[in-house]
Each structure stands twice: as C-alpha cells, then as structure tokens.
C-alpha cells in the first residue's frame, strides 16, 4: 500500500489542507457551535440595543415602547424616536462625561505604556528561569478578584489611610491629602488594574524579536539607546497597539473603578450608563448611551482586530 502513489502522503500538504478531510459538513459542524452561540448571545443583543435606543421610556414591563407596530397589517408602523439621542446631546452632563472618559482612558493608557514597556522589555531580556517567574508575577494579580484589589486601594488612599498616615509619619505633609474620591485615585485604579493587559502583548512581541537586528545595529556602531529608538521600538509597534487597545477600550467604559475610587464629580460614561439603567430605569437612554459609546469605540476595536488578525498570520 505504501508503494501505491495515489495513497502515499503528500509531504507538502498541511494539516489545514488535510482538514478538508473533515469534509465541508464536518467543518461547518465544528465552527457552527461557537458561531451560532456568538450570533445569538453577542451580535443579536447589539441589534436590540440599537433598536431600543430609538424607543421611548414608559412605565411598564419591559419599560420601553415597541418600535414596530404590527397592528396596521403587513407593513409595520415604525414608531422610532430620536428623543434619547437628542437628550444626550442637549444635556451637558453626557457630553462632559464622554470627553472625560476618553481623557481618563487616554492618559491611563499612556501611563500604562510608560510603566509597562520597560517592564515587558526587562522580562523579555531576563534569563530563562527568571522570565517565567516574572511573567507569572504579572499574571497572578490578574487571576485574583479585581473587585477586591480595587477595594484594597480604598484603605491605602483614604484620608486616614495607609499612604496618608505614612506621609504624615515621615513629616512630609501635616494635613492628609484628599487622594481618594478624586480623579487621581481613578487613574491609580485604572493603571493598576490594566497594567498586566499592557505588559502581556508587549512581552509576547518583544520576546520573539530577532536579536540579530540589534547586533547588526551595534556592530555598525549604533549606540544602544539609538538602536532601541530606531530598531526595537518600531518593531514592537504591533505589541504597543495591541496593549494600548486592551487598556484604552475597556477603560473608556469602566464602571467599578470610578464608582468605588472616584468622587461625585468624576464623570465617566460607564457610570452614567449604569445609573440611567439601575437608578432612572430609563432603558432607551441607557441604550443610546451604549450606542454612542460604541460608535466612538468602533474605530479602536477595528484597529485591535486588525492587529489581532495580523498577529495570527505571523
């Protein structure tokens, strides 16, 4: 049988090609379970958010009006309204919260990058055994309760908290600094929570970088710092983008951190959405806030997916 040329395996064929042996029905069977799940529980909900953002709030169950009135016959009567969106644009609160969320997310991302890049670089250059230990140290906090880690900062940043007590004890200040319930504590919370998300993609990128390029640069008389700027930094661009998006996008919609660490005047759009939904019970306005947030986030999300896809090809 091994001598039969028609049966002998083609050395060049890849598993991807061989998977055609799964047959078209087999392949669709494998992909359809996650595909259908995501269509129903991930994509469909967004269509509903869009739909309900054009409804108006009523006191009923569910608390919004129907968008399509089918009573007239075959062609539904569309009862959409832009009220919720008008509300968003007329009320300064929403616009300010929007811009503030973007500002806070942007600054936090930059701080994460400034701390995370040298860390990822150091880990990627560490000797083998150390590398795994350091990597585990980055991942470990990520596995423990996020809520409780944010909560820990309350005890540190409070007026009679550990940091203020330490600073007063050292004689550096005589009045406690009002650190908790301010924008400062929100920055601390976001950078603290999202730092591992910045480090991991950067590490993955820096770890597989071709060292010979740096050697070539240094052989040609390039100083280390210059070599870093003109070789390492541009080559790690994909890692920088991936890390930045993993921090920036969720940070824009962050709720827990501004709620627990921020003050009453820390306006962030995630908190507004939560309050519209849970306090005001205004589902259409909450949906409109979500749609407006998504419209803004679509560009960074597409950039993120583009770079994910590029990483996959490598």
């Amino acid at each position: 049988m091994a001598n039969n040329p028609s049966n002998s395996p083609d050395k060049a064929s890849t598993v991807a090609e061989r998977n055609s042996r799964f047959g078209i029905p087999g392949r669709y069977l494998v992909v359809s379970a996650p595909y259908i799940w995501l269509l129903i529980f991930f994509l469909a909900p967004f269509v509903l958010v869009l739909k309900i953002s054009f409804s108006s709030a009523i006191i009923a169950q569910p608390p919004y009006t129907a968008l399509f009135d089918w009573s007239a016959g075959l062609v539904p009567d569309i009862k959409g309204t832009l009220d919720s969106y008008r509300f968003l644009f007329w009320d300064d609160l929403y616009v300010v919260a929007y811009l503030n969320s973007i500002k806070i997310a942007l600054i936090s991302t930059i701080i994460c990058l400034l701390i995370g890049y040298p860390m990822a670089y150091g880990i990627a250059r560490a000797p083998g055994n150390w590398r795994n230990v350091l990597l585990m140290l980055v991942i470990l906090p990520f596995w423990t309760s996020f809520l409780i880690r944010v909560y820990a900062w309350i005890g540190i940043l409070k007026n009679n908290g550990i940091l203020n007590n330490a600073l007063i004890g050292l004689g550096l200040i005589d009045q406690p600094l009002p650190m908790l319930h301010s924008d400062f504590s929100v920055y601390v919370g976001i950078v603290y929570t999202y730092l591992p998300f910045m480090i991991l993609p950067l590490y993955a990128n820096l770890a597989r970088m071709d060292e010979s390029l740096l050697e070539a640069a240094s052989d040609l008389g390039c100083r280390p710092w210059k070599a870093f700027i003109s070789v390492t930094l541009p080559l790690s661009f994909a890692g920088i983008v991936a890390g930045s998006m993993l921090v920036f996008i969720p940070a824009v919609g962050e709720f827990v951190i501004p709620e627990l660490l921020g003050g009453p005047d820390t306006l962030m759009i995630g908190k507004i959405l939560w309050n519209e939904f849970f306090r005001n019970r205004d589902w259409p306005v909450a949906s409109a806030v979500a749609v407006a947030m998504l419209v803004f986030l679509v560009i960074p999300i597409v950039i993120f997916q583009h770079f994910q896809a590029r990483e996959d090809r490598d």
Binding site: V15, G26, P45, V49, I115, P118, S145, V256, L260
Partner: protein, 272 residues
C-alpha cells in the same frame, strides 16, 4: 543570548511589581487586624475570618458563583476550543471575517455595554433572569478568552503528529480527539481556569442580567464595599489570593514536569 537588562528597565520592574503587589500585601496584613479599621493596626486576630465563615449571605453567594463558574468554564472551554481550532486550521471559510470579529470583540468590549445588551436580549425573548442568564452571559465573553489561549497553543503545536495519525488512516475526528486534544491539554486547563476566574470576578455583567434571588459573590461584595470598608472583605480577599496562588503555582509545576517528561521522551525517541 542575553544582552543584559538595562538599568532603567530594572528600576521600572521594581516599581511596577511593588505597585502590583503592595495593595495585595496590605490587604492580607489587615485581614488579621483585630480592629475594625483597615488602615490602623491594633493587634493580631483571626476574628474576621470567623465572622466571614458565619456570614450566610456571603457563603450562599460563594456557592452561586462557584456553580456558575464551573458550568461557564466547561462550556466556554468547549466552544472556545472549537472556535480557536476553526480559526487556526480551517483557512478561509464563509463568514470568517464576522467570526473573527465576534471572537475578538468580547476581549475589549466594556462590561456595561455587554451587560446591557445581553439583558435586552433576555428581556426580548422573555427568558426568566437568574443563574441561567448569568451563566450564558459569562460563557459568551469567556469563550473568547479561552480561544486566545488555545489558539496560541495550536499554532505552537507540531503538526507532524496529526499528519502521521491521518497518514496511518485515522479519521479527522479521531485524530482530533486522540492526538490534538491531548496535545492541547495544558491550554485547555489554563483556558478552563481563566474562564472560571473571569466568571468568579465579574460584577457588571452579572448585575445587569441577574434576577431576583441570584446574587453572585462580587454582587454581595460590591454592595458591602459601597457601605464602607470592612476587614471581613480583607479576609475574603486573602482567602481568594491564597487559593488562586496555590492553583496557579500547582498548575505551573504540573505543566513544567509534563513538558520535561515530554522532552525526555522525545530525546529518547530520537536516540532510538
């Protein structure tokens, strides 16, 4: 080769790790504080642990959360693995672009949006909200995280074993079950554990899609934290940190031994 770590990098690593671990260390220390304050030391005591273990509300919430997390992790690992396998090995198929998008978007989507959107779906189809809806919502975002881990493993796999199995006449399904899945095992375990902790950790999405009577641990902790800090929460946090550290270190150790065993086998096989 090792070109050495620049000083600035060492400096930032020391600062970064101190920043990441200081809150956890302080949390653990003050869980043993006898006083009610979480920032002023007034003596050693395990009083708050006793208090925690008698708190019915928290214990019940732990049970709810663990049940959700186990079901979530199991289903998310199956769906995420199938998805990752399709993306890594099937090449082009119809609807791939949309599929790639749906597998990546949950990684970054803000929780408030996912929570609201998923809730509207359940209200729209008239599904009674409770433990089942929380589980479904968790599976949806967990499977994307599982897929990232599994995919990284698939792309680092040696395909020749699968090819050999197929050359020897194994059908693709059998090859997948007998060869691919065992080789993916470390990633499957890591993915399962990640999905488990993601579920155990989620406050926002659960709050949106939960119904009366279904309070997860983060929901109970959040309502307590809002009312003010309590050393009881420190005790709870300490137990979680302890458990997670144990699991992660144990898993890392097992995989390390497994990899070494595999390498030894490989070398033995090469020597003949």
């Amino acid at each position: 080769m090792n070109r050495g770590i620049p000083f600035s990098s060492v400096l930032m690593m020391s600062f970064g790790f101190a920043f990441l671990y200081a809150p956890i260390v302080i949390l653990i220390i003050f869980s043993f504080n006898s006083g009610k304050l979480v920032s002023v030391w007034s003596g050693f005591s395990t009083h708050w642990y006793a208090e925690l273990l008698q708190n019915e509300q928290i214990l019940e919430a732990v049970w709810v959360s663990v049940r959700i997390a186990v079901v979530n992790a199991t289903i998310a690992t199956i769906l995420g693995t199938l998805g990752a396998y399709a993306l890594a090995r099937f090449g082009a198929f119809r609807g791939r672009t949309l599929f790639t998008g749906m597998m990546a978007a949950p990684l970054v989507m803000p929780d408030v949006i996912t929570g609201l959107a998923t809730l509207l779906l359940f209200v729209g189809i008239g599904w009674t909200r409770g433990i089942s809806t929380i589980t479904i919502a968790h599976i949806t975002f967990s499977l994307a995280f599982v897929a990232v881990i599994v995919r990284a493993r698939i792309s680092s796999l040696d395909q020749s074993l699968e090819e050999a199995a197929m050359d020897l006449g194994a059908r693709p399904v059998k090859t997948f079950l007998v060869i691919t899945i065992p080789m993916l095992a470390p990633a499957l375990v890591a993915g399962w554990l990640l999905a488990f902790t993601l579920s155990l950790d989620d406050l926002v999405i659960a709050s949106f899609v939960s119904g009366p009577g279904a309070s997860t641990l983060p929901m109970v902790v959040f309502s307590k934290v809002r009312l003010g800090v309590s050393p009881e929460i420190n005790a709870l946090g300490t137990l979680i940190v302890l458990l997670v550290t144990l699991c992660v270190v144990l898993a890392a150790w097992v995989f390390h031994r497994q990899e070494q065993g595999r390498l030894r086998d490989q070398q033995a096989a090469e020597r003949g």
